[in-house]
Amino acid sequence: MKQIAASKLTWVFMAGILVVVLFIGAVGDSGPRSNAERGRDLAATIKCPTCRSQSAADSDAAAARAIRTEIARRIDGGESNEEIRAYFADRYGEEVLLTPSGSGLTGLVWGLPVAALVASMIGLGLVLRRWQSRAPREATAADRTLVDAYVADHSPAGRDDPDGGGP
């Protein structure tokens, strides 16, 4: 009985850790930051449209400079990160975003792994529980008969082999 209670407690503990980790991952970096920091982080998520494999934060191309200026202007205007990213996606297409947006179809990129993780943990829990419930906790009479027969066959007195058997 104590063993079952301990097992349940372990599961509750693990679920608690999962919730805390997901919570920190979701809102952990949303603390107050300066507009410059926010702008730099945002520019790093937007591709420089005239460069190869460079973000608007890393490039000194005219387009990248214009993007950084526009980001700063829109931050000062009170727009959210998603609104600013949507502005660039509306002009250049979704491919200008180096990290997928959190809404619409592309939001699945974020949601699916989390959903898959939760579903697999639930599935694992159910399977383990079924195995636990299936396993007999005490030996039956038939088990004891089998064990007794085995012991009798393999004990030195019960062997028919005159040489004592074995290699």
Binding site: P49, T50, A62, A63, R65, A66, I67, T69, E70, A89, D90, R91, Y92, G93
Partner: protein, 189 residues
């Protein structure tokens, strides 16, 4: 080995080398000729989120100091062309824009407006003085207009229909005939 045999071996090797090298040389020359004589890719229409949308605002000062507002061009086709004087394909397409502009000047059914992309006003003035073209050339010092149009490289042209919507985005240069064809297609619906 006799002296004749000694001479024969290098001669046959030379002949084999000639038979191998000659076709290779011919193929290489043909390849160079094709590359040198082929026309650059022009009138390449590409997708853009702006297609079928109202053209972004285009208002600003020109290189001659006058004002320009795209809204005042409603009722005619407008070729919004992004260019720079340091861009070779822009230099190559410029005579085509001049031809297109002159062809439609009398009818007034289409016009051109150029946007200076990452370039100096003085260089643009000199460019137009040397290459011709008397349409408005709008300055975009902070690149905001290019951003509004989603410009990813020059030359890029956006064809704005008489109702103000963007009907085509052309990259790599335009031709006068290509633009006329496009206008006919749009007008035909």
């Amino acid at each position: 080995m006799t002296d004749d045999e000694f001479d024969e071996a290098p001669r046959s090797t030379r002949r084999t080398a000639l038979f191998v090298a000659a076709p290779v040389l011919v193929v290489m020359l043909a390849f160079v000729w094709i590359l040198a004589s082929s026309e650059p890719a022009t009138d390449r229409q590409v997708s853009s989120p702006l297609l079928d949308e109202v053209a972004p605002e285009l208002k600003g000062s020109t290189i001659t100091g006058t004002g320009f507002d795209l809204d005042n061009r409603r009722g005619q086709f407008v070729v919004v062309n992004f260019f720079a004087t340091w861009c070779t394909p822009c230099l190559r397409e410029h005579p085509e824009l001049v031809r297109f502009s002159e062809r439609h000047a009398a009818a007034g059914d289409a016009s051109v407006v150029s946007i200076v992309y990452d370039d100096q006003a003085s260089d643009a003035r000199q460019f137009f003085a040397e290459q011709g073209g008397d349409w408005p050339v709008v300055l975009d010092p902070d690149g905001r207009v290019a951003l509004e149009y989603g410009v990813a490289g020059i030359p890029e042209s956006f064809i704005v229909a008489p109702d103000g919507t963007v009907v085509a985005k052309v990259i790599g240069g335009v031709t006068a005939n290509g633009l006329d064809q496009l206008m006919r297609e749009v007008s035909a619906g």
